[in-house]
């Protein structure tokens, strides 16, 4: 049975030998740990993810980062330079293609070849494993800001080895957040173990005096996820990472759409993560937050998409997120061109800049929403600890198996998939079907009451149709999905 315990170095090293054999690029001499430490030590401070985040948090500002990645190395480098110079990105990502995420390196290799032939990227991201440490090093050498791998890879061990050895100082993911929304039937125990490995590597580097940032993936399925659920996953992953020695963690949250709920979510995410880290005696972890611009279906219209982006940026800034992941006006269509991607960045940049001296005033409404999120998170963490007999790793596996934690719209069979979310009359995300979610009756009554108030306004029953209407709502231009005339759906 899995436990939340630091992996002994020997065990790690033994496993490492095996991992490095998963694909030919694992044999690079740059993967020698001493060599990797040297590479990382040579990364200047302004290209260190962890350090730049710390600074931003201390200054109370919000930095921006796009998603981006293409199949061919040279093209990828050009893309990165463009987003840095023209898009004014504060951080760069290498979004990894979906074959690599499923460890299908041969498919990725074919994709590279086909892309070369077609003269355009046929992969939806950058196949970092296939390019190996040498390729990844070329990427970071060509830019002037920190670089992070962003993906959705259940087993990212080889990928993680390669990117850090290349000097990339951040890695997104986690044993839960890169499983439940990104896989169908990979066991949670397995993915938690895979990610303990990734964290252990970062912990090792930390012991060598190298600061590397880790970012549990916050938005999960990006679709009507109540803040307390994504917070719970973020906190669990932060603690699992801290146990392996990670010292710099960015917890994430995807825009819900109601400003008060979003600001409450950002503030509680920071407060609760710090609280639980300290509760479990991880006292020297530096926590920052990341706000993801709207993660659900986008409107087809590009100007409307820019509106959504501007609104999102205003929320991140007011909620004092340390970082924001930006979207582009092409979101509903496909992977954006570099120009479209830069447009999303620039619109975001000016908004966070304009608001950098401002924060959202405290109010009764905000406090109440924060209290509610805290109550819910506490209930979920408590239940997880309880079934795990005090161990959060074990607890997480069991909590998901029993549906005590449950993520809406997730593809994974490890997830109960019984809860149904919907928005209340003000557009705040609530829950209408709880399944086995570990909420007490008081919390449930609150959700029920809020949803019934909406139902009354709309003159209909609380039902799955509401959820469906809400799924489509933003792409149709509203937040709260209105009852549609039959035959007129979508």
């Amino acid at each position: 049975m899995i436990t939340n315990k630091k992996i002994p170095w020997d065990t790690f090293l033994a496993k490492r030998e095996e991992i490095l054999r998963h694909w030919e690029t694992g044999s690079s001499p740059m993967l020698d740990l001493d060599k990797a430490v040297e590479t990382l030590k040579n990364i200047p401070d302004h290209k260190n993810f962890a350090k730049k985040l710390k600074q931003a948090k201390e200054r109370g500002i919000t930095l921006i980062q796009p998603r981006a990645g293409v199949a061919l190395l040279d093209e990828h480098i050009k893309l990165m330079q463009y987003l840095q110079d023209e898009g004014e990105a504060d951080f760069l990502p290498s979004t990894i293609d979906s074959y690599t995420r499923q460890n299908r390196y041969q498919n990725a290799q074919d994709g590279i070849k086909e892309s070369e032939r077609a003269g355009r990227s046929l992969l939806n991201g950058f196949p970092a494993v296939n390019y190996g440490v040498e390729g990844c090093k070329k990427v970071i050498d060509a830019i002037n800001v920190p670089m992070q791998a962003r993906h959705g890879t259940p087993d990212a061990r080889l990928l993680t080895e390669i990117i850090h050895a290349a000097g990339w100082t951040s890695n997104e993911g986690g044993g839960i957040s890169y499983n439940i929304p990104y896989a169908k039937n990979i066991g949670l125990e397995d993915t938690i173990r895979y990610w303990q490995y990734c964290d252990r590597l970062v912990g090792y580097y930390a012991e060598q005096g190298i600061e590397i940032n880790r970012e549990p993936y916050g938005p999960l399925t990006g679709t009507l996820v109540p803040p307390s659920i994504s917070h719970t996953v973020a906190i669990i992953e932060a603690i699992l990472a801290a146990e392996q020695g990670v010292k710099n963690i960015t917890v994430g949250y995807g825009q819900g759409g109601n400003i008060v709920q979003d600001v409450a979510a950002l503030q509680t995410l920071d407060e609760l993560t710090n609280y639980y880290l300290k509760l479990f005696n991880y006292n020297d972890v530096f926590v920052t937050t990341v706000f993801h611009q709207w993660m659900g279906g986008f409107p087809a219209d590009e100007a409307k998409s820019m509106g959504v982006i501007g609104l999102a940026a205003s929320v991140a800034a007011q909620g004092k997120a340390t970082k924001m992941i930006t979207k582009s006006p092409h979101e509903s269509q496909g992977v954006p061109t570099k120009e479209a991607n830069a447009e999303g960045l620039k619109a975001s940049k000016i908004v966070v800049n304009l608001l950098k001296e401002q924060s959202f005033p405290s109010s009764r409404d905000l406090k109440a929403e924060k209290e509610m999120i805290k109550k819910e998170v506490n209930a979920l963490i408590y239940a997880t600890l309880n079934v795990g007999k005090g161990d959060l790793a074990q607890g997480a596996v069991k909590a998901f198996a029993r549906g005590l934690i449950d993520i809406p719209f997730a593809p994974s069979e490890m997830n109960a998939g019984k809860i149904l979310p919907a928005r209340d009359a003000e557009g705040r995300i609530r829950i209408l079907e709880f399944g086995n979610l570990a909420f007490d009756d008081e919390i449930k009554a609150f959700h029920k009451e809020r949803l019934e108030a909406r139902a009354a306004l709309e003159n209909r029953e609380v039902s799955f149709q509401m959820t469906i209407d809400d799924v489509y709502a933003v792409s149709m231009g509203t937040l709260v999905g209105k009852p549609r005339v039959r035959g007129n759906a979508a």
Partner: protein
């Protein structure tokens, strides 16, 4: 009741649209066989054979649709599925591309109907009724 197979092809995990398609088609009286995300061509073909489906609705959101759908028509024929209708929809190529061109590419690959991003699934209902007869 007409049977249709739905699912998301390749290494694609976009589950939301798939759940909604199941719901809407079922409401419209179809017998929906949903093989879910991360499904291979084989999974689609086997499901269609087992359930004697009239149409296969392939979803591809993540951009690798062009690679994942290669030879799907040929593979259907090889498996003896000669008359099954093949639909594909979602965000089936990488990036924002001229849809007319994309449609031509996929029609050449043997797909009967090709849908652009954000298609209203109710549109496909009309087409299914036309193509499968009612």
């Amino acid at each position: 009741m007409k049977t249709v197979v739905i699912g998301v092809i390749g290494a694609d995990v976009h589950a939301v649209g798939n759940k909604i398609i199941e719901h809407v088609l079922t409401e419209h009286g179809f017998n929906v066989v949903n093989i879910g995300v991360l499904s291979s061509q084989e999974d689609f073909i086997n499901a269609a054979i087992e359930t004697n489906a009239g149409a296969i609705l392939v979803s591809s959101l993540y951009g690798h649709g062009e690679i994942d759908c290669k030879y799907m028509r040929e593979n259907c024929q090889e498996a003896g599925l000669n008359h099954v209708k093949l639909y594909v929809g979602g965000n089936i190529v990488v990036g924002k591309q001229d849809f007319k061109e994309v449609e031509t590419r996929f029609k050449k690959m043997g797909f009967d109907r090709v849908y652009p991003p954000g298609t209203n699934i109710e549109d496909a209902v009309k087409h299914l009724r036309e193509d499968l007869g009612e």
